[in-house]
Point group: C2
Chain length 299, copies 2
């Protein structure tokens, strides 16, 4: 494919905490190349973020038979994890290491929502290790939740896993009934009969949200086998997610795209009203990042 | 008062995370002197713990007109914060820096319970920054809860404060109703109108259980003024504490002594059945530590 050197190119970036993806298109939206780089969460610092973004960009350019000499023609949209306030992108934009044509930066939730709603009013609800709702109504973004496991992230994989550990400790102390789930959690955390909850306390001192989230499949499995404790945890998670769906609709979203690793398994647990509000996403986060780049001025 | 140099002396130690207290008595239980030293939580390491214990001991000896030459006559009981398993006292007992006559070590919960129950079967429920229940039944200790704020400590000051922050964020996002409490929490954490919850997230990244617990008086105040969100938080805290009271009684405790900074303010929120199980403590944690020392063999 011949790429006219006189025409602008568009670059979409989806930068997360474990990797960064890039997609390069022409002005008509035809995909010219894609690439992957290292993490680009802005909380890791601008140097790390730029390394991830440029690695993904170089790979996407190479896939299109191009190199960095094309950068001045690139209008780039970056959706980056860790952006909460607009000023969070300042360290990145004051240390641009190469000559992009133009750059627009938003949170990864904003670009994911732009992509899912295809540029129209719409909303997403992410249920992965963490949880967050995001709506774009008349061009304006509204985030709900996603403040981290200590205070928020209800309905997420990490929340489900932490509840499982909490219920296991309550059952160990005889404060609530034991179940196959509470026994399995204690065994998994090496706190079986005889050892007591000391092992759980030691484990929790270093446990990350990802470590808690890794227990969510166990809860899902046992809830499917009729475990009452597991089912109660999932019912609460589903109630919390349903409340977020209702709020996103109240903000004006005509529908909500449920995303993330828990979207599939938790969907059947949602009340009917929440399920009725769910819509399939029209595009992915890279489509959204490309939409962010589209209105940028010509270079 | 003349102290017979042929008779044994008894030393009780209550070592916490902020200070260590000591009480010296004769064989009849007459108090000869008391003293205070620095922190002696075993998690701070044996060197720190010994420094706190010896400073408190020196002060108690000096108050009795004695010095370290009396140490070989001392039968000492240490109740120390941070002891969860018996082996936790090993680093302390293998680094004894001076010649005590005899030493027995237990958790601070065990000595507090020994003191409150006067050496008989009984139980305590601590509701301070954290929460923990402890029963001694036929000489054997049973701990429930107290595994830290992330997974446990229900009904504590830190739990109440964290719930207040959580409800403030939910209200900010329009997921639950706002109230004077949710507004006051956002103002206090510098997340008032315009700033959004970013300030809360920044604050929470460094917040200790003590920081959360510092919000509990605000919840108590506003609940007293009829704030529905504050009252709901306290009702849940009281339900959780009542469940612990019921469990301690089921273990065989004839009564439960409610202790800690939240004991007074939360008592009226407890259901009638839990209030009926409460008994006044017969002695304090130093009395309990002295009881721990009493059966020690003669030097």
């Amino acid at each position: 494919m011949r790429i006219d050197p006189a025409l602008p190119l568009y670059l979409g970036i989806d930068g997360g905490g474990t990797r960064c993806r890039a997609r390069l298109t022409d002005a008509q939206g035809h995909i010219l190349g894609e690439g992957v780089g290292g993490p680009a969460n802005i909380r890791l610092g601008p140097a790390v973020a730029w390394a991830g973004i440029l690695a993904a960009t170089d790979a996407a350019l190479a896939a299109a038979g191009l190199d960095r000499s094309a950068l001045p023609r690139l209008r780039a949209g970056f959706g980056l994890a860790g952006i909460v306030a607009p000023a969070d992108s300042d360290p990145l934009l004051t240390t641009v290491p190469v000559g992009f044509g133009a750059i627009a930066v938003a949170s990864d939730a904003h670009t994911a929502c732009l992509g899912a709603a295809g540029g129209a009013d719409g909303a997403i609800l992410i249920a992965g290790t963490g949880s967050q709702g995001y709506a774009i109504i008349q061009g304006r973004g509204h985030a709900i939740g996603g403040y981290g496991l200590t205070l928020s992230d209800q309905g997420s994989g990490a929340w489900i896993g932490r509840e499982a550990v909490r219920m296991a400790l309550l059952a160990h102390d005889g404060l609530t009934p034991a179940s196959p789930l509470t026994a399995a959690v204690l065994t998994r955390l090496d706190a079986g009969p005889g050892r007591g909850p000391v092992a759980v306390v030691d484990w929790s001192a270093k446990a990350t949200p990802g470590d808690y989230g890794a227990l969510a499949p166990l809860v899902l499995d046992l809830a499917g086998q009729g475990d009452g404790v597991a089912a109660a945890i999932l019912r609460q998670a589903a109630r919390d997610l349903a409340a977020m769906v209702a709020r996103l609709c109240a903000l004006g979203a005509p529908g909500v795209s449920l995303m993330g690793g828990l979207a599939g398994p938790l969907r059947p647990w949602l009340p009917e009203s929440a399920q009725a509000a769910l819509v399939a996403p029209r595009g992915d986060a890279l489509d959204g990042a490309l939409r962010l780049a589209r209105p940028l001025p010509a270079c």
